[in-house]
């Protein structure tokens, strides 16, 4: 058995149970659940890193791949994305101690790793010449970290919508008291986006510099490039509506969610449109 695969399956198990605990914690006052959620998440993250380490080792057996990160395949990319979502969650958790958010964010990590295990091919292949550049260690990592942050913001947005629904309903349930206030959730959603938006745009520009060095053009309206720009425009719209027009709460969350839909499309959907950036086009 390939240790990488064993470890990633273990990761999937731990992430899934942690996500489940997070959901239970939403409806129960047991603080222990939250604690165990974090512990299992921590173990999952450690297994995930170990699995990534094995992948790196196997990847570097091919001399052309040496010192490049194994995120050229859909499997590697999904796995890294889930890892980044978990890491960003930990950063937010450390800062704000909102265990309740796990219920809205952690399912994404389980889905990401699960999709990688079930749908993606974990085989390792040599990098094509265009990808043999130090930029592969920077440009996709920066962008996927931004995606991961947007994923967390999406979870926060979801929590806000539920909270708003609770407050407006005649009989708010226990959940209403357990979720943070709408204002806090709105601020958190905004803060995550404010951190992720510059990361996204800088990642796009880095891609331009790489493209100029590999193909002679900074920008080529390739489907992936275009969709990343669309994502950036939507989030820029969100920031302007918030900054200048003072948009808050539910409507702001809707805009940010459209942004996240665009993120998902950029990451997954574009594979069916793009020749240059398609993970699937080589298969």
């Amino acid at each position: 058995m390939n240790p990488e695969i064993v470890l990633i399956k273990g990761t999937f198990a731990f992430y899934s149970v942690a996500a489940l605990l997070a959901l239970c914690y939403l409806f129960s006052k047991q603080e222990r659940l939250s604690l165990w959620m974090l512990r299992l998440m921590g173990i999952g993250l450690a297994l995930h890193l170990a699995s990534f380490g094995f992948r790196l080792h196997a990847f570097w057996q091919i001399p052309e791949n040496r010192f490049f990160l194994p995120i050229n395949s859909f499997f590697g990319a999904l796995s890294y994305l889930a890892l980044a979502v978990a890491a960003v969650f930990f950063v937010i958790e450390r800062e704000y101690r909102l265990g309740i958010l796990g219920a809205f964010v952690l399912p994404w990590t389980a889905i990401g790793v699960g999709a990688a295990v079930i749908f993606a091919d974990p085989a390792i292949a040599g990098l094509v010449p265009a990808l043999q550049s130090y930029w592969i260690n920077i440009h996709p990592m920066v962008l996927m970290t931004a995606y991961a942050a947007f994923g967390n913001a999406f979870g926060v947005g979801l929590a806000l919508l539920i909270q708003e629904h609770q407050i407006k309903s005649r009989k708010p349930s226990e959940l209403c008291y357990r979720l943070p206030s709408i204002e806090d959730l709105d601020n958190l959603n905004y803060k995550i986006i404010v951190a992720a938006f510059p990361t996204l745009t800088v990642g796009i520009l880095m891609g331009g510099v790489w493209a100029y060095n590999a193909w002679g053009r900074f920008w080529g309206w390739d489907a992936k490039e275009t969709w990343s720009l669309i994502t950036a425009l939507i989030y820029a719209g969100y920031l302007h509506m918030r900054f200048v027009k003072g948009l808050r709460g539910r409507k702001a969350v809707y805009v940010s969610m459209v942004g996240f839909a665009s993120v998902l499309f950029t990451f997954v959907g574009v594979n069916f449109l793009s020749e240059l950036h398609g993970y699937l086009s080589n298969e």
Binding site: A125, F197, T201, V202, F218, H240
Partner: protein, 477 residues
């Protein structure tokens, strides 16, 4: 003008650009996949006319899309000139003035200035005025503040301290950066060019955009990962000549182009055009090496054999032999056998599939033939190196824009500006310090920071008592 300055209009414009860009990824585009566009034309002739009129098959170069981008750039400039953001932190002291009465006047203005600061503190120091003033300046410098011109007189002194002042300009820099990037793209569109120059190994070809530049490829190499058709590396030993003068020479790889005064030569692709050095044919125990279009005698028979044509990716189109691409995926060779005056119909043989054989009639139509008693065992094709030549005089402008964007966006979102208005007045051998604070940070975070700062000032100024208040006159959002 009013419309162009409105944020609402520009958000709408931005989303419209996003929408148009999205449509461009769903419809086939001429610069990317011209063959799919012509397929679409054939399948939907009526729709195509409409789509062509609006340039939907070439959206990113269409007049209306470029127009929207241009309008966006224009609006950004207009917005940044007219729409000054509300800035409660911008109550500065006037330029340095040394006259005593001016200081008096300044001090009397403290009420007005403080009104605009959301957080205030009043400290009473046991130190004499001069000491207290110096120590206050020192403590704030230590905390990373930059001090603006101070005013000192017999009746007191005042100064403004700021930190991360660049944040105020972040939005301006980031927006101007976008205009710079668009301008760079325009420069590229107007003065730059891109062309594909396929050059056969050992041959040369003149460029279209620089007709007196001749591109030579002396050697082309491609290596594959074992057992796959995935390239591991491909490179060209190339040079560029202008008459007898060599302008530049280099072994170019993907990601490592040759640069001649801004004109860059990229290793983009390779392929097989149909030329070959030799084809190895196995007949029984004999192996014959056939150069292109040269008859070779088969020992022990009256026949000669000739290989005249090679297709790199064989396919059948309208009953005739064709190639699907210039990629050596399914190479096929056309052979004909001659014995005296008799010539057989040409046969197509495949390197990858020895079982398969087609016979071609005089009209070029193909028909299945039984498995022949000979096989193609190797093809040594002459490859061409696809060299993409690009000249982009706008790149440095775009790069400058990118760096500006990074500077602007980081200072806008990751720096928080703080501004303190400090007034020190002598009071019976002691000193009274009034502090007004403003920051672009969130009110909760800044309130905590402000309290910490006041305590710190209090201890370094040996203050006996201090009080902190939120400015009731100002709604803090």
């Amino acid at each position: 003008m009013r419309l162009l300055r409105s944020i609402r209009f520009n958000i709408f414009l931005g989303l419209l650009i996003a929408l148009a860009a999205a449509v461009g990824t769903l419809l086939p585009q001429v610069p990317e996949v011209p063959e799919k566009v012509s397929q679409f034309h054939q399948a939907h002739p009526q729709w195509s006319k409409l789509f062509d009129f609006f340039g939907l098959f070439n959206i990113y170069q269409s007049w209306w899309f470029m127009g929207m981008l241009g309008l966006m750039a224009f609006d950004i400039i207009v917005c940044k000139l007219w729409n000054k953001p509300p800035d409660v932190g911008m109550v500065a002291l006037p330029p340095e003035i040394n006259r005593e009465e001016e200081i008096e006047r300044q001090l009397s203005r403290k009420e007005a200035a403080l009104k605009l600061k959301p957080y205030q503190a009043l400290l009473r120091s046991d130190l004499p005025f001069d000491d207290a003033f110096g120590k206050a300046e020192g403590a704030l410098k230590e905390a990373g503040y930059r001090l603006s011109p101070e005013f000192r007189g017999a009746s007191g002194g005042a100064f403004v301290a700021t930190k991360h002042g660049l944040q105020r300009w972040g939005s301006y820099i980031a927006h101007i950066a976008l205009v710079v990037i668009l301008a760079g793209s325009l420069v590229k569109g107007l003065f730059g060019f891109v062309e594909m120059v396929p050059v056969l190994e050992g041959g040369s070809r003149a460029m279209q955009n620089k007709p007196d530049w001749e591109v030579y490829v002396d050697k082309f190499t491609v290596r594959y990962y074992e057992g796959t058709r995935t390239p591991k590396i491909f490179s060209s030993v190339m040079r560029v000549q202008q008459g007898d003068r060599e302008l530049g020479a280099k072994t170019i790889y993907v990601n490592d182009p040759l640069d001649i005064g801004g004109v860059r030569f990229y290793q983009a692709s390779w392929g097989a055009g149909g030329m070959f050095r030799s084809v190895t044919l196995k007949i029984g125990a004999q192996k014959l090496s056939l150069p292109q279009k040269k008859r070779v005698k088969i020992k022990g028979t009256p026949f000669t054999v000739e290989a005249d044509m090679m297709l790199p990716n064989f396919t059948i189109k309208d009953g005739q032999a064709d190639t699907a691409s210039l990629d050596l995926q399914n190479p096929a060779v056309r052979l004909s056998f001659t014995a005296g005056p008799h010539k057989t119909s040409p046969l197509w043989l495949f390197e990858n599939n020895p079982e398969l054989c087609f016979v071609e009639d005089e009209n070029g139509m193909l028909d299945h033939a039984p498995k022949p008693p000979f096989q193609i065992v190797a093809i040594d094709p002459v490859l061409f190196s696809g060299i993409q030549v690009a000249y982009d005089p706008g790149y440095r402008i775009v790069l400058t824009g990118a760096i500006l964007w990074l500077t602007g966006i980081v200072s806008l979102f990751y720096l928080h500006r703080r501004r303190l208005w400090v007034l020190v007045e002598p009071d019976d051998g002691q000193a009274r310090i009034t502090l007004g604070g403003w920051s672009s940070r969130g009110p909760k975070e800044y309130e905590r920071e402000f309290q910490g700062l006041v305590k710190r000032l209090g201890s370094s100024l040996a203050c006996s008592d201090f009080q902190i208040s939120r400015n009731p006159l100002l709604e803090v959002s």
